[in-house]
Subunit: 244 residues, 2 copies
Amino acid sequence: MTVHPQQPDPSHIYPVSDRNRLKRRHDRGSYDHASVHAILDASMLCHISYVIDGQPYCTPTLFWREGNRLYWHGSSASRMLRHLKAGTPACLTVAHLDGLVLARAGFNHSANYRSAMCFGTARIIDDPEEKAAALVAVVDRFYPGRSAGLRPITAQEIKATTVIGMEIEQASAKVRAKGVADDEEDYTLPIWAGVVPVTTVLGEVEPCPRLMDGVEVPVELGLYAAGNALDRSLTDAQRAYEEG
Amino acid sequence: MTVHPQQPDPSHIYPVSDRNRLKRRHDRGSYDHASVHAILDASMLCHISYVIDGQPYCTPTLFWREGNRLYWHGSSASRMLRHLKAGTPACLTVAHLDGLVLARAGFNHSANYRSAMCFGTARIIDDPEEKAAALVAVVDRFYPGRSAGLRPITAQEIKATTVIGMEIEQASAKVRAKGVADDEEDYTLPIWAGVVPVTTVLGEVEPCPRLMDGVEVPVELGLYAAGNALDRSLTDAQRAYEEG
């Protein structure tokens, strides 16, 4: 089998079935690990769908990625996590809004975006070693190296935290990143059309008013300088975290 | 019955049951229309959970609000919409990330956010009048007054668009908007803690390169000036749209 140099290695593509195959706008989609992970790594916030007694829930939460595995956590008391204890089908989605697209016809108004949908079975992480590693990762993935300088986690805190893990079984990425796409005959109309770019940016850090004297802003916050784009900072943090 | 002046009118509160009652962090939650709608109106993007054969899906999409009713749309071909034709339980969620919260202990790291979860039954809008109104609203809710100046929608476009509506039966809003909350004994540790604010902002408009000569940026784009916060622009647009 010859693999075209522009194509990703087939072992680095999530398998496609009816569950994750794009049903429309195939031109905007891909299934390779790199495309999916790039969208995930640029975000701290995801939305997770799960089902209780036939009722769908859509819960926003912080998450992080280790290889093809996704993690999130919460109090042991939370509804979602109690339900997930046995392992349950879930869909974790990340979406970035990148622009508002105004066209010459209502029908062609759109948005620029990047989104990734990941399917798998969400399970409570019971293994003490994997759980301990996850509680370090949830800090260090966002702020590389930070956990080593913090007040160590207590047995009580470990007990109070539930960590959920989900191997990505299938996934898809979908991206629109272009200008206005009007019908050819509409371009001669005297109607304004264009794109308003959207960016999520970081502001000036607000130190805790109760900081001890002489405590400086730590190295790991360098990634989150005021004016930086959040998606870029989070992507850089993931890379730094992976490189250890 | 005496209503405390600080309490919203009970007729303006979404009913609470196990489905939408906050299971943790009650201090962060509310159920009144105003709190829920404020979070919805500040966003263009939502995530919708729905179930097909026991499999949950979490789909990001654009949406808009009319009173207690939410709308979204897509091609008639889309998987979600075909499934929803008969009406199906759904959960539509909006979340805004407002800040990264770095604490003195890993356990107290958090995020500032505003989120709203809305429960109801999603149904295809078949009524021609309601559908026609929705196809105007999807433009004018974001860009008040814009639809009147556009190339009119065609019968073919109306046919190719499926509009979905969902009355909000129940909802909850959840907000964290404060500084670091460390354990009292940790404040004396020489560890940096603080908040990195996050804002989603608009960039300079990029006019379509094929604009006709003399076509100026339209009035409705005034709400989306470069540097404006997207959530504020969208909230102002909703207000202008409601005031007609």
